[in-house]
């Protein structure tokens, strides 16, 4: 039985490999420099190139846009094991994701768990086909780490909800078609018990956005304003006032995304960059202190990757804790902060170049600045430490 299974697995790997090799255009196997090198879909979707279109269409036809969702929702119905093989083979070839969207990484999992069958059949295939560009409306100017104190309100007006308030850090809100949103539907209840999860069309009357510029320069972040926006009642996901449960579940997926899980991009090793940029003595980086720092970092980076693998393998046997996503988010982002610091150190004055010239494209300095947001967005490192100490270690609250 086990042997038969192993044969089937190895067949699947070989078939997958040859299909990817035959169908993924060469230009789609190059690592991306910018998120917008990927296809994002949406109502105003545009392909960057013919190859991008071909790659997307072939993967769509193969049902591998979201290979692990069930077939009736547009997925490929792959088992976790098959999906793992597909991811490995895509990584091996360096295949880009055919479609990048918050619908796949964040909203989809929440819908699968909390939406009605009718809602699933409506929204999930749209996500797979990339018809709708989704954004996330969680944080507010006065609800950051204390997300549950959010104040954007949805008033029951009989046959619709009337939404008023503002959201902040809504990534790509200015380009999005729809937003999944946390709103307050009960002002009497304790703060966690008066929140609902709602889907809102961004073209509704009363919705407006304004971009936010970050220390790294331009950014995808926006402020989003709702001024007495009418939202159909059918757009409520899950039960009224039980949105916090959905919010938390969705956050575990967001954290995994920020923590870097499932990324197929290839990273250059810091020590390779160091060898190109630093003085070398007897085959060693002459700055022995920086050499040590790089080795500490690369040790943790390599072992963190193994840890993702181990916990993924453990999850397959049924051992899983949702709170572990807090650990992934925490450790993954802290590592990235260290990586950017080291890259600046290793590149010296060239690492500080802001405006593109013949020496640098200015990416390093901007990525360095951007990484400072990694340990804040999606719940600060401190919030993750709170979650780990309470939910995993069981340390008491006062």
């Amino acid at each position: 039985m086990q042997i038969e299974n192993e044969v089937a697995v190895s067949d699947f790997r070989m078939e997958t490999r040859s299909w990817l090799e035959a169908n993924c255009p060469k230009s789609m196997c190059k690592s991306i420099k910018d998120p917008f090198d990927l296809y994002w879909g949406g109502r105003n979707a545009k392909f960057n190139s013919e190859d991008q279109k071909i790659w997307y269409e072939r993967m769509l036809e193969k049902c591998w846009i979201v290979p692990y969702w069930e077939i009736q929702y547009g997925g490929g119905g792959l088992t976790p094991e098959e999906n793992n093989i597909l991811t490995q083979e895509m990584t091996r070839l360096g295949c880009r994701k055919p479609l990048y969207s918050f619908g796949i990484a964040m909203l989809g999992p929440a819908l699968l768990k909390f939406a009605t069958e009718e809602q699933k059949l409506h929204y999930l295939p749209e996500i797979v086909e990339g018809k709708i560009w989704w954004c996330q409306g969680y944080s507010e100017p006065n609800a950051g780490s204390d997300l549950a104190s959010l104040q954007t309100k949805a008033i029951d007006k009989g046959d619709y909800y009337e939404v008023t308030g503002s959201k902040v850090w809504t990534s790509y809100a200015d380009k999005s078609d729809w937003i999944f949103c946390l709103v307050r539907t009960n002002f009497e209840a304790t703060k966690h018990n008066g929140i609902s999860f709602m889907l809102i069309d961004m073209t509704s009357e009363g919705v407006s956005t304004r971009p936010i510029k970050l220390i790294s320069g331009k950014s995808p972040f926006c402020e989003t304003f709702f001024d007495t926006v009418k939202v159909p009642k059918a757009n409520l996901i899950g039960s009224l006032n039980e949105g916090w449960t959905i919010a938390k579940y969705l956050l575990t997926h967001e954290r995994q995304m920020i923590g870097g899980i499932g990324e197929t991009d290839t990273r250059k090793n810091v020590h390779e960059v160091a060898l190109e940029n630093l003085a070398i003595q007897n085959g060693k980086i002459a700055d022995s202190i920086l050499r040590t720092e790089i080795t500490h970092f690369e040790t943790d980076e390599e072992i963190f990757d193994l840890t993702i693998q181990r916990i993924t393998d453990e999850a397959k046997t049924g051992n899983n804790s949702g709170a572990l996503s807090s650990f992934f988010k925490l450790y993954g982002t802290e590592l990235n902060v260290t990586r950017q610091e080291l890259l600046i150190a290793v590149n010296g004055s060239d690492g500080l170049i802001w405006e593109e010239n013949e020496k640098s494209d200015g990416d390093l300095a901007r990525k360095f600045c951007r990484s400072k947001g990694n340990t804040i967005e999606g719940g600060t490192s401190e919030v993750q430490l709170n979650i780990i100490s309470k939910l995993i270690l069981g340390l008491p609250t006062k």
């Binding site: 080795t295 500490h296 040790t299 193994l306 840890t307 181990r310 046997t317 650990f327 780990i388």
Partner: protein, 372 residues
């Protein structure tokens, strides 16, 4: 290969946990220390033999269990939790591994049975001086008549004062050699070093020590090759022990944070302590992954085992230091009393961290290996 232990390995781990908690808890280690640093309990060793632990990594062709290093690693990890003392590291992890890696059939046939029965105890005489290194050995071996003569000085030998045989690593005009020497051979002077973990380590002088020709362990195999394979086993195995120490010290500390009251509240409610504990949790998750990966690489005999062994010894060495330091600090005053067990963990941690190279040594090896 999935990065998890199999059902069989899990069963072995669970049975080791139960056995050690019943037969060899920390209180037994404390009793051995109080009995003038007794090295280990002979009855306990017999029971470990009966459990099959001494046969785990010995090939089936020599009547061993051939269960692999992931299996042995699980047991060593459990001994790290209880700080149980036995010749498991010296005679099994190191000694029997040399014999397995070597190509002297006569010695294998002669000594594997005694190793498995626990009556033969090997001690690896490798280190010279205050720090671990994997080359430049000054101990020499020269041909003399029908055998060899060994001259040199070895120290930090695990169980070096109690074992009945030494495996001596020495340089000859034909490269590095591994030699089996009975501890009572004339010319050997053994002195004991009692270290802070209450363990007995050998400091041994070899002066014109004569051994017969057929007591060289590596015949065709190059000594350097054998040493590299052995070291990856040593690094990974000791990392497994450190993982046990880390987990136990951490569990004891979390338990204490939930019990100890100050200012009218349990101290575990303080965020200053919660965040430190949560950071340790993350580091421990990394430790679990690299220890298992390095043990699996040993069983697969892959080329990557050298890298993973260094990664494990570096990461575990750094983390065992961090966790035991934090454990003492979070225990407060009670943590620095001899009555509390937590002190034994920081003491053992410091010894294992140095055995076969501290984390600086291994980080340097990794950087060199990657070419920078």
């Amino acid at each position: 290969m999935a990065l998890i232990i199999t059902e069989e390995q899990k069963m072995l781990k669970d049975s080791a946990n139960e056995f050690l908690n019943t037969k060899a808890p920390v209180s037994q280690m404390r009793a051995l220390r109080d009995a003038k640093y007794s090295s280990f309990d002979k009855e306990l060793w017999k029971e470990m033999v009966a459990m099959g632990w001494t046969a785990l990594t010995i090939p089936e062709s020599y009547n061993g269990l051939d269960f692999g290093y992931v299996g042995l690693g699980q047991i060593i990890e459990e001994t790290g939790k209880t700080l149980s003392k036995s010749p498991l590291l010296s005679s099994i992890l190191l000694g029997s591994s040399v014999l397995r890696l070597a190509d002297n059939e006569d010695l294998k046939k002669t000594f594997f049975p005694g190793i498995m029965e626990g009556t033969i105890q090997f001690a690896l005489a490798l280190q010279e001086g205050k720090h671990h290194q994997a080359d430049n050995f000054k101990t020499t071996v020269k041909r003399s008549g029908e055998g060899f003569v060994i001259n040199g000085h070895k120290n930090f030998i695990i169980d070096g004062a109690t074992a009945n045989h030494f495996i001596v690593v020495a340089n000859s005009d034909r490269g590095l050699g591994f030699f089996l020497v009975a501890a009572n051979t004339p010319g050997i002077t053994i002195s004991k070093d009692i270290l802070l973990d209450a363990g007995t380590y050998g400091d041994v002088h070899f002066k014109e020590v004569y051994i017969p020709k057929n007591y060289q362990l590596n015949i065709k195999i190059k000594g350097e090759e054998l040493l590299n394979s052995l070291l990856s086993i040593a690094y990974s195995g000791l990392s497994a022990e450190m993982l046990g120490i880390i987990q136990q010290a951490f569990d004891m500390t979390i338990k204490y944070l939930k019990e100890r009251q100050q200012f009218g509240v349990v101290i575990g409610t303080y965020q200053a302590l919660q965040h430190r504990a949560a950071k340790l949790f993350g580091e421990i998750e990394l430790c679990k992954s690299i220890v298992l990966k390095s043990l699996q690489a040993l069983d697969e005999n892959s080329e990557e085992r050298f890298k993973y062994a260094h990664l494990a010894k570096a990461k575990l060495g750094k983390t065992v230091k961090l966790v035991t330091n934090e454990a003492i600090q979070m225990h407060g005053g009670i943590g620095v009393t001899d009555d509390a067990d937590i002190g034994f963990y920081i003491k053992r941690a410091r010894v294992v961290q140095q055995l076969f190279g501290d984390y600086n040594y291994h980080l340097d090896c990794l950087a060199t290996m990657k070419g920078y």
